[in-house]
């Protein structure tokens, strides 16, 4: 099989790039060593998750494929509870839990490419900050929140509003910001906007999603502005959670669109070798007209030949790594989050009781706002019980005893509403960036246990026969550390092995960063393939076989083929 580009790994970046290349008219073969789509961003059933953990904890063999040995470097400190869960296929566990901002590159690409038709999304219901066991406080992000808050003094309300208005507008070049772009954001809030510590913490960790008090100001402000603009597009939250496990499903959607446009998909085959073909006088033996690489896969009869390779470091054999170059990361606001080069401790847990976000201690009282006769018109909220199906919780530094005093941690819970768990079950994801050397010697489980306990404290305890409260435990837990891999040096020079730049693991940025990287890869690849094609065009007009058609690429996504119908009354 003879193609323009071979893409290895069906993670989000690679899948978006493959889809764009296929739609633009290039021929693509897209390969993944796993039997499922999504690669490191995959959505897995319970059994698949167990298998995933097992493959990465077995002791290494001699002739281990590159993919597995690199995966074992990526994922370390794996431990899990021994339970097996029934209804394995009703779970979609994400290896890269994410929330997608309603305004941003991924949403744009989903709509413009038509992939949005393939999937569904759920709006995040709540975003709160862990205050103390059993208590979650809201993050005031809008005028409404600030007005209604009973915690903030009048002066604090004014100061916070002044900041929110500043952060929503054109802050670049303002006197408040100039010269302070790289100073810590937390300090910026205290010094320039006189926010008190608690409010500054809510803004930095709850609104801008910083992971440490050292996070710089400009990227934090840019994130904050992007998120506040995302509010209202689909509902009161800025974020969407993809159905069926989030970005794994999204990646699969892009693969599907790539296949529809002619891309070939090969899953579950081990990569045996990538050989560089000699550049002068390509031999008749392979019958290709001068392709650059030949690829051999296990149990796949055909040899694949291509002009370029796009791959995450997981697939590139060591002999070729010196030829690979990373695509320079885009100069956008998603870069600059300092999280891409740090390990992340992660936990995936399953619970069988709902988590509650309650602003005061768990008491059964409900607020009455006046006359009881007004209740007939007051909306009957599930919110009165505080139970959440799909929500995010932020642990500021020092908010959890035994947790980090310098970095924040994030919890994402997804339930039936996001089609990722059966009824009565929820998936809890925890993540904590390891910013300090001394953290790297602890196990993932040790690093995350305090946060898991804190999360469990938000579930109503069951009452034993004697009447005492028994705290709820998860019915399944898996811990691991996700390590960044060293990427090849970024270079602008034409390279035929392209590696997408490493993506931040920040829960609210991952999806957009991956999409922006995909676009960079797309342009670079399109350019490289086009010049490779030109090289192979026979000089002097005669040639064997067809001259490949020139492909004009003038945008990331081509126009859509079908206009969706607008809703009408005829169904009434």
């Amino acid at each position: 099989m003879d193609v323009d580009a071979a893409v290895f790994g069906t993670g989000l970046s690679e899948s978006v790039a493959a889809a764009a290349l296929s739609k633009a008219g290039f021929s693509v073969v897209h390969i993944d060593a796993n039997a499922y789509y999504g690669g490191n961003d995959a959505s897995l059933t319970f059994d698949e998750l167990i298998q995933w953990a097992h493959e990465r904890t077995t002791p290494s063999e001699d002739k281990e494929p590159t993919y597995i040995s690199v995966q074992k470097q990526r994922y370390t400190s794996i431990s899990r509870s021994s339970e097996t869960l029934p209804q394995s296929r009703q779970y979609s566990f994400s290896l890269s839990p994410t929330v997608i901002p309603s305004l941003g590159p991924l949403i744009d690409s989903l709509v413009t490419s038509g992939v949005s038709r393939y999937g569904g999304f759920k709006l995040l219901e709540r975003l709160g900050m862990f205050d103390r066991p059993g208590v979650v406080r809201s993050v005031p992000s809008s005028k409404e929140d600030v007005f209604k808050s009973r915690e903030l003094s009048l002066v604090d309300k004014r100061r916070l509003m002044r900041f929110l208005v500043f952060a929503a507008g054109q802050f670049e070049g303002t006197m408040e910001l100039t010269g302070r772009e790289n100073t810590p954001f937390f300090g910026f809030l205290r010094d320039i906007f006189s926010l008190d510590e608690r409010t500054a913490s809510s803004v930095a960790f709850g609104l801008a999603l910083c992971v440490s008090v050292q996070d710089p100001t400009l990227p934090a402000l840019q994130r904050l502005r992007r998120y506040s603009k995302s509010v209202g597009r689909y509902g009161p939250s800025a974020f969407l959670v993809g159905h069926y496990g989030g970005v794994g499903e999204v990646a699969q959607g892009f693969c599907r669109t790539s296949a529809v446009s002619g891309g070939t998909y090969i899953l579950g085959r081990r990569l045996l070798s990538i050989t560089q073909l000699p550049s002068q006088g390509r031999t008749e033996k392979f019958k290709e007209v001068g392709r650059k690489y030949a690829i051999e896969l296990e149990e796949f009869p055909e040899r694949l030949t291509c002009d370029m390779i796009i791959s995450s470091p997981d697939y590139i054999p060591s002999e070729l790594s010196s030829h690979a170059s990373a695509v320079p990361p885009p100069l956008s606001s998603t870069s600059g989050t300092p999280t891409d080069m740090y390990p992340v401790a992660r936990c995936i847990a399953v619970i069988d009781s709902p988590i509650r976000f309650l602003a005061t201690g768990p008491s059964p009282e409900t607020r009455t706002s006046g006359d009881t006769s007004s209740d007939e018109q007051a909306p009957q909220e599930k919110g009165a019980t505080g139970e959440v199906d799909t929500a995010m919780l932020i642990f500021a530094p020092s908010s959890v005893s035994g947790g980090s005093t310098t970095s924040a941690a994030h919890m994402l819970v997804t339930g039936e509403g996001s089609m990722s768990a059966p009824s009565g079950r929820w998936i809890v994801y925890l993540s904590r960036h390891l910013l300090h050397e001394d953290e790297k010697t602890s196990s993932a489980e040790e690093l995350l246990k305090p946060y898991l306990n804190a999360t469990m404290s938000l579930i109503a305890p069951s009452i034993s026969e004697e009447g005492s409260a028994l705290p709820i435990q998860p019915i399944f837990t898996l811990f691991f550390i996700q390590n960044p891999l060293s990427a090849p040096p970024a270079s602008d020079a034409a390279s035929t092995i392209l590696v997408p730049p490493p993506v931040t693991s920040l829960v609210s940025e991952l999806a957009d960063a991956a999409t922006e990287n995909a676009e960079q890869v797309f342009w670079k690849a399109a350019q490289t393939i086009t010049s490779a094609r030109a090289e192979r065009k026979p000089q002097g007009g005669e040639g064997k076989g067809e001259t490949p058609k020139d492909i004009e690429v003038d945008s990331f996504w081509p126009p859509l083929d079908v206009i969706d119908d607008e809703p009408t009354l005829e169904e009434w």
Binding site: F147, S369, Q377, D561
Partner: protein, 339 residues
């Protein structure tokens, strides 16, 4: 919406849509022809009625056909049916308009038809309970208008309609419930003249009827308004409501207290036009109604403060500098009146 890219379609896709539209157009024109012919012949049959349904589904702005539909009901269908059946027909028509309003929330003719249906509701269900049906419909109506206000809380047509609905109900809702409703709307977004206005009307009635203690209630209102002022000093509706609360300024203690609160806000937000303007207004009220309590020196002091603030206002709010210049003249005039 800001920041949302336009979706691009291929020429083929656009052409395919145009073809589909051409077919739809042909069908529409044929249907219109049929309906208008029947109308001309005063066809009051059920078949004609069903045709108007089909046509209005495609184009609910076709007011002639709404008129025709009502004529059919009045002349052809209602005379032959019992009150129970009439009630059912009206219920169906109301839910038809609800569906239409979801897609076309601003079409007057749909609202008209709705109102007409509500006015046609017969007495029932029983002789002992002649208002039962009407009450049910007006309750539903309130629910609909609330949905409209959820979508756009500043739609004054909807607020007006709300007052019509509340007034038309056979059994009126308690005023307290309406007060709570304005609270909810103000909490959601206090930049809303209509909500504050409704609140002032409800409170005035509650105070008049003695259902709420005016003094305590006003204190709560001052607290609410102060929170709003500090959250967004630029919001005009808040200051107007405050002005209503203070009234003519005859209560000296309240006037002094409010002046203090606004001054505190001005200290942390020195460019706030509304703070300055309100302070001038209230200080002039002090001079006007409470000069007996002040020495001549104190009064002169107040006037100087007003003049200074008016000067600041001319820079902070230059569009109205002539107005502030006029006010300055008036204040200077007051100086002469001091004993």
């Amino acid at each position: 919406m800001h920041g949302v890219k336009r979706i691009r379609y291929t020429k083929e896709a656009l052409e395919a849509k145009r073809q589909k539209d051409r077919t739809k157009l042909a069908e529409y024109l044929a249907l219109t022809d049929e309906v208008l012919t029947k109308k001309k012949h005063a066809d009051w049959s059920k078949a004609a009625f069903d045709l108007t349904t089909r046509l209005l589904q495609v184009n609910p702005e076709f007011y002639t056909v709404w008129n025709y539909r009502r004529d059919i009901l009045l002349n052809g269908i209602f005379p032959k049916t019992t009150p129970v059946e009439i009630n059912d027909i009206l219920a169906t028509d109301l839910s038809f308009t609800t569906a239409a309003l979801k897609l076309h929330p601003k079409v007057y003719w749909i609202w008209n038809h709705r109102r007409w249906c509500l006015e046609q509701v017969p007495d029932g269900p029983t002789e002992e309970d002649p208002n039962g049906w009407k009450q049910a419909y007006w309750n539903k109506e309130l629910f609909v208008v609330e949905k409209m206000l959820d979508v756009d809380a500043r739609n004054f047509h909807a607020w007006n309609y709300r007052r019509v609905v509340l007034g038309s109900m056979p059994v009126k809702r308690p005023l307290r419930a309406e007060l709570d409703y304005t609270t909810r709307k103000i909490e959601a977004n206090f930049s809303n003249f209509s909500a504050w206005h409704q609140r002032s009307k409800v409170l005035a009635t509650l105070w008049e009827k003695g259902e709420l203690d005016q003094v305590k209630s006003k204190e709560d209102e001052y607290e609410l308004v102060k929170n709003a002022m500090y959250t967004d000093p630029n919001d005009q509706s808040v200051w107007i409501y405050h002005r209503w609360l203070v009234g003519t300024g005859e209560d000296y203690d309240i006037l002094i207290r409010e002046i203090g609160a606004i001054q505190d806000l001005l200290d942390i937000q020195p460019d706030s036009k509304w703070c300055l303007e309100s302070l001038v207004f209230y200080k002039r009220a002090l001079l006007q109604y409470h000069s007996a309590r002040m020495s001549a020196a104190e009064q002169h002091n107040l006037i100087d403060q007003c003049l200074e603030m008016l000067e600041t206002l001319r820079t902070v709010d230059p569009y109205r500098r002539q107005r502030y210049a006029d006010m300055r003249k008036e204040v200077l005039g007051a100086r002469n009146a001091i004993a």
